[in-house]
Symmetry: C2
Subunit: 378 residues, 2 copies
Amino acid sequence: MKFIIQRDQLIDSVQDVMKAISSRTAIPILTGMKIEAKQHGITLTGSDSDISIESYIPAEENGIVNVEEIEEGSIVLQAKYFPDIVRKLPEKTVEIVADENLKVTIRSGKAEFNLNGQDAEEYPHLPKLQTDDSFEIPTDILKSLIKQTVFAVSTMETRPILTGVNISLEDGKLTFTATDSHRLAAREVPVNTSNVKFSSIVVPGKSLNELNKILDDTEETVEISVTSNQILFRTKHLNFLSRILDGNYPETSRLIPEQSKTVLHVKTKELISSIDRASLLAREERNNVVRLSTKENNEVEITSNSPEVGRVSEELTVKSIDGEELKISFSSKYMLDALKVMDVEEVKIDFTGAMRPFIIRPENDHSILQLILPVRTY
Amino acid sequence: MKFIIQRDQLIDSVQDVMKAISSRTAIPILTGMKIEAKQHGITLTGSDSDISIESYIPAEENGIVNVEEIEEGSIVLQAKYFPDIVRKLPEKTVEIVADENLKVTIRSGKAEFNLNGQDAEEYPHLPKLQTDDSFEIPTDILKSLIKQTVFAVSTMETRPILTGVNISLEDGKLTFTATDSHRLAAREVPVNTSNVKFSSIVVPGKSLNELNKILDDTEETVEISVTSNQILFRTKHLNFLSRILDGNYPETSRLIPEQSKTVLHVKTKELISSIDRASLLAREERNNVVRLSTKENNEVEITSNSPEVGRVSEELTVKSIDGEELKISFSSKYMLDALKVMDVEEVKIDFTGAMRPFIIRPENDHSILQLILPVRTY
């Protein structure tokens, strides 16, 4: 194998692929990165067996030459050193050569690295997904679906299925749902597809977080294909493959209250700042509980009490309060997580009493929903 | 105690003072920050008993009012919460009130924090240093003295005296010297003082690191006063007090070779890049040893070998090589640390054979010196 490649192109691809590579894996060769050279371009592959990422650098694209002097072949390189080496090379181009004894030479300017490679034949074959029943959505929409839900997955392994995001595609609507049983985040978007539908596949939150980091915030589309145990996200130069979690995702729709007794309209940023301040004293106790009480004149009081340290209270003028008086306590962390992904100037909060879950939504928009269970404080 | 203060001024002062406060101290009240209000201004104090920092905010300065409605008094507040509270307050001004029951109220806009304070009488009194025999140097010069030496202090507690920087003021020259016995860094500057001199006081590296973080890179002067067990750095609004280490600092001048057998002139940046690359493969082994060999035609070869991973080699064209041929091995970390603080485009390296310490200096400038002991590799 041999090729000469633009260093900056290589750095970007290596960075993406590294997201799938873990130094703690049961399969030693997966600590390495596979490099495959074909006449049409170079493919880098990384995998931790949960996530696999392939990044493709075409030899030529839009009249620009990325890779030259290609002799086909493949090799696996230790991923621990390769990214730093590439990043610190002195010149703009890099020559990478692997000989039949798996000796790899990386050359740039007058610097030369001689590394021991591993046989690419020993690298596991990634499953080829059939892409007949795939659908497409813009990358920026996919990223917001992930950002607005994935933070609510469970981090506890006691119910593994809750560590994933539940994804459905039905009636032309793509829905992401995540819950750790104390809160729930859901978002749906319309998707233009006639033939594809699936009702509930659960993708590990970790996979979606990594995917979100790799994808650029563009309007280019991502192609998504689903099989019984894998999901593939494909862009022009990237294949991102994740396993799907086994098990049944709980029915969540019945958690969502249908009426409300107290309705608040409030500026998102102002509420974030108030809750943030109120949570300062409660950092280590009882999951940062803060309390919200409605007052006269469109004011709510936000308070928090930490016997040893002190007390914080703040009056916040909201746009409107309708319905019953309310005193409710909740985790400030859950509240802040939910508010921070709302992306609207003003939110509507529907409460159904101090002991029932409440819902945060933009006014007149049911495509996103954040639900939080209150905390019993007395 | 009561006052109303500009939030941003308070944030800056709190940040400085926090550098002296540790949550792990044997004296519980030192986990707090002392606040003292006088008619002329507010003083914040933090201390971990090694370092003490006082930051002063004058009530009025250059016609700008920083503090208003001052009622004199003092209180100690838990430092764990105070900085975050101040930083996240909603308005530009803050009112701080302490009552006779040590209850503290922090008010800004509609937000109010009620905290439990502690009696300022219980806070240890900082020693008042006599400032008769003080001298002054510009802040930026002091910062470069620290930066160019402090990295070379020992991090091992086996010889505590080496964890400090040795400071002397003699014959109008202020000298900083640090060594961990494998390398040595020294820098001297002329100081305009007639009456002050001291021969060897050793200030903890940690103190100097914190001081360097707090001081702005200005040409305003720092006043330095030394007693038998403390050193005080004083700027307009800051008192920084550090203890001095007990013990005798080793005589280091005899370590410095007087002749050299091989002299290299080389561009600092190019040498840094080469050494940096050569160290990539050796990260965990034998202190990142790299090897430098002189070649024909003003070239040196820099190599590193890591049997399991591979080998790196690079030819570097230097400006000149004079004297004997040389093959020498050294810690890439020590070399990079030294080169990175040199602040000159080109350095001169004086070698005295493969087994003797070598010296890095700017050409024709003896005010800074970096010495490194080689590593025996065969």
